[in-house]
């Protein structure tokens, strides 16, 4: 029996021997280093798209939205956010605005439903070791950092012309190809988002929805199909491709709060986003 006890102690001490580890370095709240202002397209760096799936009846989603605001404060223009109201938590309350769009519903189906909320897809990439494209809140910052590390294969410029009189919006998206893009299915997606929409939202603080909640980056519509329009032009380094879109903004949208989001994405098994960019409708 004594031998046995000694053996136990020896074996457990073996496990403990390695318990002195060199810890990783942490830098809490590292914001401020990245540009908030729009940078000219020639000095544009890698910009990452985060698509948050949410709903007005999703109690945990405001925490996810707040986390995205925190990340935007850190990364500024280098992070582009879209909040897509789709799925089982998205049906509106009676007499509240329906944020659901056909494109959003199609995107949820296209990118796959999450196991739980809050959830977001970062650059539509299936990262190594993940089950699918949908990522829990504690995973977003790491993958955003990973994605920001590589140079952009294509740079995007957006020029908007908006008329207050007839609410007509003209969008010119110019792609500057930096590296040869060999994939067959390369698409361009253009979306309109709106910020600061005051509308009901379920929050953890109450069983009744908060009427003063301000929704950010709400996907309003897309100027392309939900998975983007195929780019048929040559995508070799140095190519410049121009795409033009027009739409009339519905009266309910506040033009000053709307953004045009454009991104180049692959289609097929690999749906990765190569670069994203956004510009205010009235800028």
């Amino acid at each position: 029996m004594k031998n046995l006890i000694s053996l136990c102690l020896l074996l457990s001490s073996l496990l403990w021997l390695g318990c002195e580890e060199i810890p990783p370095e942490i830098n809490p709240r590292m914001g401020g280093e990245n540009p908030i202002e729009v940078t000219p397209v020639d000095s544009q760096q890698r910009q990452v798209l985060i698509e948050e799936f949410t709903g007005v009846r999703c109690v945990n989603c405001p925490a996810g939205s707040a986390a995205i605001e925190g990340l935007l404060a850190d990364y500024g223009q280098r992070l582009v956010a879209i909040s897509i109201h789709a799925g089982s938590f998205a049906p509106p309350y009676p007499d509240s605005e329906d944020f659901r769009t056909d494109e959003g519903t199609n995107l949820l189906s296209y990118l796959g439903a999450p196991l739980g909320y809050p959830t977001a897809v970062v650059n539509r990439k299936k990262f190594e070791g993940e089950f699918d494209l949908q990522l829990g809140r504690t995973q977003w910052p790491g993958f955003i950092v990973d994605e920001l590390g590589s140079p952009p294969k294509v740079k995007i410029d957006i020029q908007n012309a908006y008329s207050d009189e007839d609410r007509r919006l003209e969008v010119k998206v110019t792609l500057y190809v930096e590296e040869n893009i060999a994939e067959d299915e390369v698409h361009i997606s253009v979306a309109i988002t709106e910020n600061d929409i005051q509308e009901l939202q379920l929050t953890p603080s109450s069983g009744t929805p908060d009427p003063n909640y301000k929704h950010k980056h709400v996907l309003r519509d897309m100027l392309t199909t939900y998975n983007g329009d195929r780019i048929d032009e040559d995508l070799t380094a140095g190519a410049v491709i121009e795409k033009n879109y027009t739409m009339t903004l519905p009266t309910g949208w506040v033009a000053e709060n709307c953004e045009v989001v454009a991104f180049v994405n692959l289609d097929g098994d690999n749906k990765e986003v190569l670069q994203a960019h956004q510009a205010g409708v009235t800028e």
């Binding site: 457990s12 810890p23 910052p141 790491g142």
Partner: protein, 563 residues
């Protein structure tokens, strides 16, 4: 990895081909089992069975597992083929398609040494610090892909050590898990009426760089006061013992886990100067104390159980949520109910903190009259000590010769829906469920069984019934032994509650029926079932692990075979 699989595959086929003429030859033996589920999805927006790829466009889904085991030359080989086609098991609201070798293993005993490699299922003690297991209804497959050595150091004393990585569908996680345990047995010798089975275990989990980088990136978004330095290595230790003395059996286990990177889904975090409630990573050590005392004598059986859990969420990496990436298993502390309405509200184990106890008393009089009373109570561990779950279950059964059996009782529950289902401000759901089960045997082959339950729920301060309100359930089952069983059942939302579906036109709560028809056919080791099902959303638990399942509408076919 793929090459290794292919090689092994060939090896196993070769091994299996050798005794192909018979299932047993030259000491070799092959055995196996098949489990198949096929679902046909029939959209029903009213009950919420809609808006998933299966209801929208795929219409059909299937899962299958074929398990083969072969033993020869002192070796045991195992191989399992897993198939998921448009399956809703991995994520009930999404579709999952993949197939391949879900498991393989090789095992060999060389005198006192025991060697196993491959995908291994195992546990230490009751599983509090380590349990590699499979729960197919929830598609949990936490097999450890690695190696295990066992050695008999003394008669009745065995030591084992293992290392590996946890399975993640057809891949493995990056984190390495390793551990040791010693299990023993001592008795008072001949004539003595006591014995002990003590044990000790230790487990270490080392986070991989990719997972750690992700944790660091998340912590870097926290303000300084909320940030912490995460740990690559976490150690968990456990001491356990079963004492058997006369009619008493006493199991006790104490476990401690060193500082670990944990995720609190109800944590408070400061973002852009405001406080947000949601997922928050934090660093804490944890502990579990669990004990179970049983007394059994003639017709009387008494079991008392208690458990205290503090910060004992142990996962392969902190990013994993819900039932994914679990390294351990904390025993559930509430009765496992089987009747439809009695099993509607289940207490999922709270890994970050709970204190629970349970008492179960059974008495059987002359094998005719039986009584069972069960009481369980689970509270939070924080200062509020809030109620999570309470259940009183009573059961009386009477067996009249070999002709009929009547069983009935009342179950009363209190269920913290806010915590278990993340529904804010949901009141504690109160239920009272009288139930009965009557079995009548016409002859040695034919029998009929009736089952009925009524769930009466409490009302909130506005006078609205909790959750879905009151339910009525009835079932008739007709069996012709040994082959056929037919069942017809209906679950009826007799008095709808707060969360019951609403008529889109009138705004009135709907009193919906959820019918079900089953046909079971058994022929020797083969069992088939065909069912038409309408099922309300609810928490589904298997082996003490639970998840919220959406409503289901459709036809299910299952085939099971052992050979």
């Amino acid at each position: 990895m793929k090459n290794l699989k292919a090689l092994l595959y060939c090896f196993i086929i070769l091994a299996c081909a050798l005794p192909a003429a018979a299932q047993e030859s030259d000491g070799g033996r092959i055995s196996g089992n098949l489990e198949t589920n096929a679902n046909f999805f029939i959209r029903d927006s009213l009950i919420g069975a809609a808006n998933t790829p299966q209801y929208d466009r795929q219409l059909y889904g299937a899962d299958a597992w074929l398990n083969l085991s072969y033993s020869n030359w002192g070796f045991d080989f195992g191989l399992r083929f897993d198939l998921f086609n448009n399956s809703n098991l991995l994520n009930p609201t999404d579709s999952y398609t993949d197939e391949g070798i879900g498991r393989w293993y090789i095992h060999k005993s060389i005198q006192k040494l025991d060697i196993s490699v491959g995908y291994l299922y195992d546990q230490i003690g009751s599983g509090i610090i380590f349990r590699a297991f499979e729960e197919r209804p929830l598609l949990i497959d936490n097999a450890l892909f690695g190696a295990r050595l066992g050695y008999e150091i003394l008669p009745d004393w065995k030591i084992k050590a293992f290392t590996g990585r946890q399975k993640q569908q057809f891949d493995v996680y990056g984190t390495v898990i390793k551990g040791i345990s010693i299990d023993g047995y001592l008795s008072g010798g001949e004539g003595a009426n006591w014995a002990i089975a003590p044990g000790f275990g230790a487990v270490n989990r080392t986070l991989d760089d990719a997972s750690m980088n992700s944790v660091v990136a998340t912590i870097n978004t926290y303000i300084k006061e909320e940030a912490f330095v995460p740990k690559y290595n976490t150690y968990a230790f456990s001491v356990f013992n079963t004492l058997t003395a006369g009619n008493f059996t006493w199991y006790v286990e104490g476990a401690y886990k060193s500082k670990d990177n944990l995720n609190d889904p109800f944590g408070e975090l400061t973002i852009n100067d405001s406080t947000v409630i949601g997922d928050r990573l934090f660093l804490a050590s944890g502990s579990v104390v669990y004990s179970s005392l049983s007394y059994a004598n003639k017709g009387l059986g008494i079991t008392l159980e208690g458990k205290r859990t503090e910060n004992f969420d142990f996962r392969t990496r902190p990013q994993e949520q819900l039932n994914r990436g679990l390294i351990n298993f904390l025993p559930p502390m509430a009765r496992v109910n089987t009747y439809r309405l009695n099993a509607r509200y289940n207490a999922a184990t709270q890994t970050l903190g709970e204190q629970a106890f349970q008492a179960d008393i059974r008495y059987n009089y002359k094998r005719k009259l039986g009584f069972n009373v069960n009481f369980s109570n689970i509270n939070t561990l924080d200062k509020e000590n809030s109620l999570l779950y309470r259940e009183v279950y009573t059961e009386v059964s009477y067996k009249h010769k070999r002709t009929w059996t009547l069983l009935g009782g009342v179950q009363v529950q209190r269920y913290n829906q806010e915590v278990f289902e993340f529904k804010p401000d949901a009141p504690i759901v109160e239920t009272t469920i009288p139930y009965f089960d009557f079995l009548y045997k016409f002859d040695r082959k034919k029998s009929i069984r009736f089952e009925g339950q009524y769930m009466a729920t409490g009302k909130d301060e506005k006078g609205v019934k909790h959750d879905y309100g009151n339910w009525l359930f009835g079932l008739v089952e007709f069996s012709i032994a040994p082959h056929w069983t037919f069942t017809v059942s209906d679950m009826y939302n007799a008095d709808p509650g707060k969360n019951s579906p609403v008529d889109a036109d009138t705004g009135e709560k709907l009193r919906l029926h959820y019918p079900r028809f089953d046909v079971f056919y058994t022929y020797r080791a083969n069992r088939f079932s065909l069912s038409y099902i309408k099922q309300v959303e609810g928490v589904v638990c298997t082996g003490g692990i639970c998840r919220l399942e959406p409503a289901f509408s459709g036809v299910k076919f299952t085939a099971n075979s052992n050979f």
